[in-house]
């Protein structure tokens, strides 16, 4: 059963792509959403099953390989652990939401969205499953190109600005990463995880300056992908140019898998370098503050949400900078809560764009009367983002703070906590400009969002509140498992 799920992660997307392209042209194009939906549902289901199975076996890991014999010495293999399955679950969830949004925003003639979504999922699944740094890079390339195409897909030629910037910045990241891997390969001779883990233990590498440079390059490369502050410039432009369903994917999961998971792996493999954690801490702190301050001054709905992603990634970097298991759990919790409330905000953006026709904050106002459900989901998302108790965001932020506190970084925890007041500030500004206040005369005939976008919003809001309320039980379950 576990092997079916595991193999499915790689084979299912490819199968869907093949079936989609082999069927009749017009039938496939009209029903492209169902294919994409099927792929995501499969991913979600298998991730749940795998998670349940692994959880019962006490959080072990499952190795498998497809079409070749992995027992040969030095042979590569795919690995599945509870951490990775959790992230696969995230991929499934965000893709499902993206499909729900896409059904409303993407018309038939751009139906290759299904192909691209499946390949993107394949790329991300691959990144999670591989146990070799270079394969990680290959699958990251696949993800990067897929994202570029999806951003560029909807825009007329003149407006390829955002996509082009994204492509160039990803290539910059690839340059950094490849150079880093090359230096590493020179020193260690192998890029496989278990080899690298063994090597750092012997300490031989710690003093070597070349490996130090490699570390710096790796960190910078993955930070570009995460969108931490010095490297964040592409995120807002990419979001503005991309269609909302693509923004959901980009901000919801791609920057987490491509960026944060990469950083997680690097931290896990090279724990010896204590200065790496300080780098992460500094990047995180700067991202939180700068992201929040920039978000407060944007005029476009999606740019505000994009900068808020930069700020929230800062929190995840802070969690990783502690290096303890609680920090890791905090980071995963924040990835979950960020995925949920970010996708909610983008679903709201889709609804607003579809109904009110504009996403410029100055042209919106008082939409709460016309679109009560969207307003409600937006307020709940704001509460979760600001870390107000009943919601998911509060618990994840609390775990991060506890992790920081336990690992002795009180000053950092204080900074993170007080910076979250800026988060509330720009989200309040967003709510005020978009939903509260008097309605403009041009928007009086606006109706409530309909169909799957509304369904997505309500699903995510329910998720935020229910998991938020059920968190004490989750905490006690984690405690029982011995992780906390």
């Amino acid at each position: 059963m576990l092997s079916v799920c595991a193999h499915g992660f790689i084979l299912a997307p490819i199968a869907v792509v093949l079936i989609y392209n082999l069927l009749g042209r017009d039938f496939a194009r009209r029903h492209f959403v169902w294919f994409a939906g099927a792929g995501t549902v499969w991913q979600l289901g298998s991730a749940f099953a795998a998670f349940a199975l692994l959880w019962r076996t006490g959080g072990g890991s499952y190795r498998f390989s497809i079409f070749w014999d992995m027992r040969a010495p030095g042979a590569a293999y795919f690995e599945l652990s509870t951490l990775k399955v959790f992230l696969l679950l995230m991929i499934g969830l965000v893709s499902l939401v993206s499909v729900l949004v896409a059904r409303q925003t993407i018309d038939a003639n751009r139906s290759s969205y299904a192909n691209l979504l499946m390949i993107l999922m394949l790329g991300m699944n691959g990144m999670l499953l591989v146990t070799d740094l270079f394969s990680l890079y290959v699958f990251m390339e696949v993800t990067g190109i897929c994202c570029f195409v999806m951003i560029a897909m909807f825009r007329s030629r003149a407006d390829l600005e955002g996509a082009f910037k994204y492509l160039v910045m990803s290539e910059m990241a690839s340059i950094f990463l490849l150079t880093g891997f090359a230096f590493l390969f020179m020193r260690t001779g192998s890029l496989r995880y278990e080899d690298l883990q063994g090597l750092t233990a012997t300490g031989g590498l710690l003093e070597d300056r070349l490996v130090g440079v490699a570390m710096v390059l790796l960190l910078s490369g993955f930070s570009i992908k995460t969108g931490a502050v010095p490297f964040h410039s592409w995120l807002p432009d990419a979001h503005q140019s991309a269609d909302t369903s693509v923004s959901v994917l980009l901000s919801g999961i791609v920057i987490k898998i491509a960026g944060v998971y990469g950083l997680m792996t690097v931290c896990r493999l090279f724990e010896g370098f204590s200065s790496m954690r300080t780098v992460l801490a500094v990047l995180g702190a700067v991202s939180i503050l700068a992201g929040a301050l920039l978000a407060a001054r944007q005029g476009h709905f999606k740019r505000v949400v994009a900068y808020s992603s930069v700020s929230q990634m800062g929190y995840i970097l802070l969690a990783l900078s502690t290096g303890t298991t609680l920090g890791l759990i905090g980071a995963l919790a924040h990835i979950l809560s960020h995925a949920v409330f970010k996708t909610t905000l983008f679903a709201n953006a889709a609804a607003l764009h579809e109904q009110a026709g504009t996403l410029e904050l100055d042209e919106m106002g008082g939409l709460e009367e016309r679109m009560p459900k969207t307003a409600l989901s937006s307020v709940i998302a704001f509460l979760s983002l600001a870390g107000i108790p009943p919601t998911l965001g509060f618990w994840s932020k609390l775990l991060i703070l506890l992790a920081l506190w336990q690992s002795g970084k009180q000053g950092l925890a204080a900074f993170a906590l007080l910076a979250s007041i800026f988060t509330s500030a720009y989200m309040l500004r967003l709510q005020k400009k978009a939903f509260f206040g008097h309605i403009r005369d041009s928007l009086t005939d606006v109706r409530e969002a309909t169909g799957t976008v509304l369904a997505a919003e309500l699903l995510l809001t329910a998720l935020t509140v229910l998991i938020g309320c059920a968190y004490p039980f989750i905490l006690s379950a984690l405690g029982a498992q011995g992780l906390l």
Binding site: F394, L402, W405, L418, P472, S476, G479
Partner: protein
Amino acid sequence: MVLLICIGTPLLGAFLLPLLGKRSAKLRNGTSLALVLVSLVCAGLLTAAVVRGQAPSLRMELPLGLSLGLKADALSVFMALTSCAVTAAIIIYSMGYMKHYDHLGEFYMMVTFFLGAMMGLVFSTSLMEVYLFWEFSSLCSWRLIGFYRDPESNRRANKAFIITVLGALMMLLGFLGIYGATGTFDMEALRGVGLPTWATALVLVGILSKSATFPLHSWLPDAGIAPSPVSSLLHAAVLVKIGVYFYARLFVVTAVVAPVFHVAVPVIAAVSALISAGCAMVETDLKRVVAYSTISQLAFMLLGLSCGSRTAFVGGMLYIMTHSVAKAGLFLCCGIVEHTVHTKDITKMGGLVKVMPVTAAAFMLSALSVMGIPPFSGFFAKYLVISGAVEAGQPLVAAVFILGAVMTVLYLLRLFRMVFLGSCTFPEVREGSPAMLGAAVGLASLSLLLGFVMAWPSALATMIGGAAL
């Protein structure tokens, strides 16, 4: 079990109200009142239990030193009774006042949800739980202040939200400091434990922001833009008491605090009392004057609880109760006046006593209780606070508070004169609606009645005092 009902019904029941509201307004108003009355009855039952000596409690242990527990003791039951009673009166009042406004579903939901949060906060035993309900109340106050949806009230609602959440975050930092020093968030385990000074200072900032003391007070007068049942519920009776209650809960009943705070907090309270009293003297907006007076009276309560002597503590507790009742009555009268005269500027009012005698009488009764004139309950509390301050060896602070009390008499009299006395400016105005009048007169006479039966509430307060010092 009674504890769960007391907290659960308003907290969860609140979300049904907007749905009921679709069917009929009366049903929704009635249900919200019923929810509040249920928790009032439960509070009564709990009081009986506590008086009999039991301490009903629930507990759920969580990793990382977190825990979710509910416990009813004298202090929590005292606060529960006060806030339920006042909220019930305010809901009755708002039925008359809010008849022709829209967004009523949200209004009633938020009021009931707020009461649930208040009950939760009062009965919770862990610091994190207190923070949880604390943020609930910030959320409710944000939505209630922003009720009218015009840009100005939005701006002020956001300002109130930012200031209270900032305070709450500083307090959370303090909790983390306490967690770092003692390894637990549970207040049962913190009993009698010395807290690190900087952590106490941070928690104090949270308390001061919530109970609107001087440097962090500016959100309270601005919240006057909200409809008057809201401003009376939030700014007079219940929300601002959360900060003072939590001071009593953490720094007096549970943990031991550094002696420097026995001097520092009274001084801060004194400064806040004088400055807000001064502002109340020159203010011309009806609601802002009463809001500033609330800030000034809160300083009295803070003095009572913080200066360390038992008399002052009991005085502080009584002050919380008497002030809630009297100030809620005052705000409701202001609401009636503003509702009928449609302006908040007191310089344009005058001589309303002839056209609105009952409101004038209720206003004067409540004002006298706030001033602390004897037959009213306010006197007992004010006297105990002042004598407690003297007993605690801080006669200078007591003298400053006497000056504050004189200023209270001055600005309340000035308000009464500018609104009700002098030549009549609105001869054609009629009295408020019966529901509104009923609530206002009820609260005013309650504060008079409490004056006569002050022995029972003070017995309860002494019981709290006994547990504390």
